[in-house]
């Protein structure tokens, strides 16, 4: 049967240029109207070690890294040794005979071995070893049976700035690989259909979508301290921000980041910041400040494997409670976990409008999977004009006034008080982190007043009620009469959805509730939906079941089963499928998954 959905794996070491090989491939496919989803498993090391990039290619948009391996591009001996056995029948293994000296005689049944003499095909190789990637991508393209022009056009644009010679060299290398493979190897049986070229996709990561979202939201400054996997936003911003009027600053630490972002928002611009868990730990005090002085601020927290420094280059959803509990005391806040790349873009726009309208700090909870995976998206779905920017009750100019004193923290029905920005005549006030009265005067020092304190606390927290009413409640996807309801949050939306389909194909009816809004939480609506569920199974990329706990605290609902993964590698649909079946079979209540294929494992010498 011809495959219409295949996974290509590119394996090698850090420094082998896998990421750019992946980019070339992805873009070539996207330009031919194919859809991809790529996930790069890399390590916290700059050279050496192992990189394992998997790209799923299909006509329909894949939503996860997939379950299997169909084709392997091994950039070194080790990659071949490790992954060869994983290749499915009908697949192929490509490698450079100069890097892979100990190739087996034959591969697993039905798997074609494709040794490629890179030094012969691209003589420049001896000076420029990364050219092997170009040759192998060319060869892969031939084996996939796709027309060469996809690769050619990408190489042309990628090297445009380096001049025709470089373009020619690269296109020549790819072409040599393509021709060699076409001549020496069989094409895989694929049902991939390139689309007419007017239907082009963009290849985008979650981090890039966050950057684009910030542009759309009118962000004027991005502030961040580097931290994997949030650094991609910083890099994108540094490269693209200035051209669209966004200043990018990298302060001395995350404490400065958050305080600076608050200062900038306080002065009336939209300023965004971003970090990962360890950096966010340093921002929590200032989150509380933003809550208290009612200054909007937006931070993207891209989760990675914890605890502590943990697994810097691996994915996890382990920071829900860090963000939930950020800072001492109760204050209003917004926590949102976008569910896919489009949603990253939309969420930034949405969250800035809400943060400004309700004058509170907001955290967007992403994770390495969502932020760093690449996928094809339809560019027309990125609307920079809608929803329009809504700055809420912001006073940016003297309004003549009615002579009444300006009360920055005026008690109102909604809890929102019109916010003047510094520089506006007639609206002087101090924004204090101490408890204060409507006019901003401290009620923590000599003017202590429990009655006013209580009122101010209630004023601030009232904003949460109105904020919640504005957020769309989650919707159940899939059949109402399902046997099982899977509940996830944030980035796992795609893989759960694919698992639901796979289970349906096996005759198990499953539906799916993905939570995007963590705080405020639609407790009633969720309880309502889940009250009809026959069996609730939580799917989380963490050890403790953080959403399960949050859900229970909000609704009292205790899930019937849990599927969890905390080994750093993302869920594949098969993990969830197997987990659901085991739970349905009554074998376990808690299924923990692990990516234990040999390709993931790495032994080490002992320390002592």
């Amino acid at each position: 049967m011809a495959l219409d959905d295949l996974v290509v794996g590119i394996g090698g070491a850090a420094g082998d240029g896998i990421a750019s090989a992946g980019d070339t491939l992805a873009l070539a496919l996207a330009r031919q109207g194919l859809r991809i989803y790529a996930y790069n498993s890399y390590q916290s090391v700059v050279r050496g070690g192992r990189i394992w990039l998997r790209m799923r290619i299909a006509n329909r948009q894949p939503l996860s890294p997939g379950n299997v391996l169909n084709a392997l591009v091994a950039l070194n001996q080790e990659a071949l040794d490790l992954h060869l056995q994983e290749i499915q029948p009908g697949g192929a293994a490509l490698f450079n005979t100069h890097r892979v000296r100990r190739a087996p005689e034959k591969g697993p049944d039905g798997v074609q071995l494709c040794p490629i003499p890179v030094p012969d095909l691209a003589p420049v190789y001896k000076d420029l070893p990364v050219i092997q990637n170009t040759v192998l991508i060319g060869a892969l393209y031939a084996i996939m049976g796709l027309p060469f022009d996809g690769v050619e056009s990408v190489l042309e644009s990628t090297f445009a700035r380096k001049g025709q010679k470089v373009i020619d060299m690269n296109v020549g290398a790819a072409r040599a690989g393509y021709d060699y493979a076409a001549e020496h190897f069989q094409k895989m049986e694929l049902a991939l259909k390139p689309q007419p070229t007017q239907k082009r996709y963009a290849v985008m990561t979650g981090n890039e979508a966050f950057g684009l979202g910030a542009v759309a939201a009118g962000v004027r400054m991005y502030v961040a301290y580097p931290m994997t996997p949030a650094s991609g936003i910083l890099h994108w911003m540094a490269a693209h921000g200035p051209a669209v009027g966004i200043s990018v600053r990298q302060p001395e630490d995350e404490i400065a980041v958050m305080n600076m972002a608050i200062g900038a928002n306080h002065a009336g611009i939209r300023c965004m910041c971003g970090t990962s868990g360890g950096g966010f730990a340093l921002m929590t005090e200032a989150m509380g400040m933003a809550g208290m002085i009612e200054t909007p601020v937006v931070c993207i927290e891209v989760q990675r494997g914890g605890p502590s420094t943990g697994l810097p280059t691996k994915t996890e959803q382990g920071d829900l409670f860090q963000v939930f509990g950020a800072g001492q005391g109760d204050y209003p806040r917004l926590i949102v976990a976008p569910t896919n790349v489009y949603d990253c873009f939309e969420t930034v726009k949405e969250v800035f409008n809400l943060a400004e309208k309700y004058q509170l700090p907001a955290v967007i909870l992403s994770d390495l999977l969502l932020s760093e995976h690449h996928e094809t998206v339809e560019p027309d779905r990125f609307d920079f004009e809608n929803p329009p920017i809504d700055r809420g009750e912001l006073i940016t100019e003297a309004n003549g006034g009615d002579g009444e004193a300006y009360l920055r923290y005026k008690i109102t029905e909604t809890g929102v008080s019109p916010r003047a920005i510094p520089g506006v005549p007639g609206h002087l006030y101090v924004a204090p982190t101490d408890e204060h009265d409507e006019d901003g005067v401290l009620i923590s020092d000599i003017y202590t007043d429990p009655v006013r304190r209580k009122r101010m606390m209630e004023k601030r927290m009232r904003k949460m009620v109105y904020l919640k009413n504005e957020l769309p409640p989650p919707r159940l996807e899939g059949p109402a009469d399902a046997e099982v309801t899977l509940v996830g949050w944030g980035s796992t939306w795609g893989v759960i959805r694919e698992a639901v389909e796979a289970l349906a194909a096996e005759g198990i009816k499953v539906n799916h509730l993905q939570i995007k809004y963590i705080v405020p939480f639609h407790g009633e609506e969720v309880a309502q939906i889940l009250s009809k569920a026959k069996k609730i199974i939580m799917v989380e990329q963490n050890f403790g079941g953080q959403l399960a706990r949050h859900l229970r605290s909000e609704t009292g609902i205790k899930a019937d089963g849990h599927i969890r993964k905390y080994d750093g590698e993302p869920f594949e649909p098969k993990h969830i499928v197997a987990g659901v079946k085991r739970i349905l079979a009554g074998e376990e209540e808690l299924v923990t998954c692990v990516s234990d294929e040999p390709g993931w494992r790495y032994d080490h010498p002992s320390f002592v």
């Binding site: 996207a30 963009a202 985008m204 684009l212 542009v215 009118g218 004027r220 400054m221 502030v223 693209h240 921000g241 200035p242 669209v244 009027g245 200043s247 600053r249 302060p251 001395e252 630490d253 404490i255 400065a256 980041v257 305080n259 600076m260 972002a261 608050i262 200062g263 900038a264 928002n265 306080h266 002065a267 009336g268 611009i269 300023c271 005090e285 200032a286 400040m289 002085i293 560019p379 990125f382 920079f384 004009e385 920017i389 700055r391 940016t396 920005i421 510094p422 520089g423 506006v424 609206h427 002087l428 006030y429 101090v430 924004a431 204090p432 982190t433 005067v441 401290l442 020092d445 000599i446």
Partner: protein, 297 residues
């Protein structure tokens, strides 16, 4: 720095809230001199933002009629930086205590100096943690007895002026809150300086620092102006800054770079390229944004 045409008196910078400092606290002088400096420079209150941390000293914004942020302990400088970069037309003053600025917040000062953020930083240096009722501070002298060092401080006090000079600060001054006229002049210089300006002020805590009293200072203070110090001489500034301790306390303008570095707002390409960020129109059309998408296609 925009200036107002109407006449502005020091009292125009006075809020309705009477300061809650202890009678005699040095911070009254700091406030007073700042009100004078702003009035003499005719900076309209609504064009000033005073950003503080937490401490007795950090209560100042509540008593100064202007915009203000009374932020977190140790963090006035990053907040002030954010404000200044967002609206470079504002006069931004960061302030707080010695614990706030030289203890928990030290790193921010040094980094703001090397970035040359265009703000004036005023430290009310009373060599003690006042608001928390008298613990040792990074500027407490050796052997000073405090609640947390009942047998005397064993840690070498920090020398903020030397550190600021070493970090590349183009305007470094020290005043005494008992000499308001002199202090006013230091502030004026700082506020007019385009770039990071540090004014360290000895501001006695009459309640918890029984050692560094007004009298103690009055007996020791020497003014650089009276010594013929040349504030454009970096090496001399370092030498003068190095002298601290029990014999002599030097105040005045230690250093003003005759060729000051441009401030951050002139170097950041986006901020330098037009009016303050806050005054730029928001929003982008799909057509304008299209190249960002094209690049990914």
């Amino acid at each position: 720095m925009a200036t107002a045409t109407v006449e502005l008196k020091p009292k125009d910078y006075k809020s309705n809230i009477p300061p809650d400092w202890c009678p005699g606290c040095g911070d009254f002088g700091v406030l007073n001199a700042l009100q004078r400096a702003c009035s003499e420079l005719k900076i309209a209150p609504h064009e000033i933002v005073v950003v503080s941390g937490i401490g007795c000293s950090s209560n100042l914004p509540g008593f100064f009629r202007a915009y203000g942020v009374h932020g977190l302990h140790g963090r006035p400088i990053p907040v002030a930086t954010g404000i200044k970069l967002a609206n470079k037309d504002l006069t931004v003053i960061a302030t707080g205590g010695d614990g706030d600025g030289y203890g928990i917040g030290l790193s921010h000062m040094i980094h703001a100096i090397r970035r040359n953020v265009n703000i004036t930083y005023i430290v009310m240096n009373n060599q003690i943690y006042g608001l928390t009722t008298g613990q040792v501070s990074p500027t407490s002298l050796l052997n000073m007895k405090t609640k947390s060092t009942p047998k005397g401080n064993i840690e070498l006090p920090i020398n903020p002026l030397m550190l600021a000079l070493a970090a590349g600060c183009d305007y470094v001054a020290r005043g005494f809150s008992g000499d308001i006229k002199h202090l006013t002049e230091l502030y004026k210089g700082a506020l007019q300086h385009r770039g990071f300006a540090l004014v360290d002020v000895f501001s006695p805590c009459v309640t918890f620092n029984r050692y560094n009293t007004y009298d103690w200072f009055r007996q020791r203070i020497k003014k650089l102006e009276d010594k013929g110090h040349d504030p454009t001489d970096f090496v001399a500034a370092m030498e003068e800054a190095k002298k601290v301790g029990d014999e002599e306390v030097t105040i005045g303008l230690f250093y003003r770079n005759p060729n000051p570095r441009p401030p951050l707002e002139d170097l950041d390409e986006v901020i330098a390229s037009g009016p303050p960020l806050v005054k730029r129109p928001l929003g982008i059309t799909n057509a304008e944004a299209r190249p960002l998408l094209e690049e990914l296609m």
